[in-house]
Symmetry: C2
Subunit: 307 residues, 2 copies
């Protein structure tokens, strides 16, 4: 277990639909992160091209690749050369007919340390992910790296307190979310602000409730709707790193491209868990209802119901 | 089910250790709330006197009373007279040796609609609650009132995403937290700010993650440590009402006494759940680990582990 403070980086960028071009940009940003002393870097979700889930098209499956495969091999070389733990994102072809939205973790010697297949799959206008991605069947298990255990999940997972809690209970030292989220350009400014603020708040809350640092890397820039039906997505950037009290270490602006660093201190993290001992007081005898879809008035969570 | 918008009030005050004095003050504040059009009002935790859990003393058990009992009878008369759903807080004597920190809900005709016994009990310097309060054995079930189902919990419960989720899944229309939380006057200003911000953030996050409005009523003012060992507690006020996107309807200052109102709109609440369909996508097949204390590497959440 690494007990020394280290620097984490979140990488934020806009992407073209040309993989080589995106790789060159990301390579340069990862080099910057390493030269600034980062030990771990997180990339945005599906960083090889446009966020193709804005429409449903069979042609888009041609983007999928194996894990390990071209993207993990590219990241592996970088991780080894830069002495950097790298968390990337792959549209994974696991088998004909089984495709996943997968986060991959390369240890700082280039080893593929582990992967995570997105568990919660959205399906909303502009985010037609249920068409492309089979829900993950991994349990929520962190990936062990030289810098500790990384609880990596993907985007929509970030709205579910259950996911963050399970990763923390499985021993994660940090949580990390590759992300692709943005505004409908036709929404009001008020609604845009509420949405981005909700996104920050719910993730900072995972950090607080679990006494754990958290990284979120989002893309930026506008991408048109390939089907031409609506105004596309304006990705809202805002990538951030927060500590175990939800305190912001660094947050990027909506339109910035760059690598953004903050320090993680494992000793401080444990001291926060001692002062705010939520894990001590969880009522695990009363949480069975969390594995149900809806708890109607006839189902009971506990043996003893004194109402 | 009430589908019309209505006004909620959170009551914030400092308390003496004289019950009659506190009741007169609260009566006046509840009258104000009703005269301003509130349909529901939430009081702070243990509003009959000082927050006695700053020390451990057998004498303090003399404060405990039955439910129903003097406090619920007083609140019942007020609820009926003011046509107000009132959520109050009682140090409950359930039996010799079994005492609870209990929230009580009076419907607007004065009926004791239900109660909730605090499930998560803190025990930290200044908050020695495990000495006084037996953990609740209620399931997380909302109380049905004329204005809808109230998911009432108490203070420390507010830090546990599981509790908020279970109340929401049991059909709560709003969440409500009587609270007594404050600063150690000897902490730094930075630490105080982080703590209060964490408190807001984690509760706003429950609203967001569950698409549900939330009320928190806290006390204010300084109360000395009865044992004289430390600087006492400076209760931080900051009572608030937020909507289902975590948007603040009203927040009180640190030192204000008063009733603070905001509107709840059940139709808007359901529309937010349609736009942000977290309940649709919960992975109930993968959440079994939430009923465990810690998930070590040999326990498995799911049948299929593809790592």
């Amino acid at each position: 277990m690494n007990a020394k403070p280290y620097l984490c980086a979140v990488i934020q960028a806009s992407f073209s639909d040309n993989r080589e071009e995106n790789w060159r940009q990301l390579e340069s940003l990862l080099e910057q992160a390493a030269s600034q002393g980062a030990g771990l870097a997180l990339l945005p979700e599906l960083h090889n091209g446009h966020y193709f889930c804005q429409h449903e098209s069979n042609r888009e499956f041609e983007r999928a690749e194996a894990v390990p495969g071209p993207t993990t091999e590219w990241l592996s070389r970088l991780a080894d050369r830069l002495d950097l733990v790298i968390i990337g994102s792959v549209f994974e072809r696991r088998a004909a007919g089984i495709y996943h939205n997968t986060a991959v973790v390369l240890d700082n010697d280039g080893t593929l340390a582990g992967q995570y297949r997105k568990m919660h799959i959205p399906d909303d206008p502009g985010y037609y992910e249920k068409f492309y991605f089979t829900p993950g069947d991994n349990p929520f298990r962190p990936v062990t790296t030289r810098l500790g255990k990384v609880g990596v999940m993907v985007c929509w997972d970030q709205w579910f307190p259950e996911a963050a809690r399970l990763m923390a209970l499985a021993g994660a030292d940090i949580l990390a979310f590759p992300t692709a989220i943005g505004w409908d350009p036709e929404d009001t400014e008020d609604e845009k602000e509420r949405q981005q603020d909700s996104w920050m708040t719910v993730q900072r809350s995972h950090a607080i409730a679990n006494g754990i640092p958290l990284l979120a890397a989002n893309r930026t820039g506008h991408e048109p709707d390939p089907a031409g039906n609506n105004a596309g997505i304006q990705f809202w950037g805002g990538s951030f790193i927060c500590g175990p009290q939800g305190e912001i270490g660094h947050q990027a602006g909506a339109d910035e491209t760059g690598c953004f660093l903050a320090e993680i201190d494992p000793v401080h993290n444990e001291s926060v868990r001692r002062s705010w001992p939520f894990f001590r007081d969880r009522r695990i005898d009363a949480y069975a209802g969390l594995t149900r879809r809806w708890n109607d008035s006839t189902s009971h969570d506990m043996e003893t119901d004194n109402d």
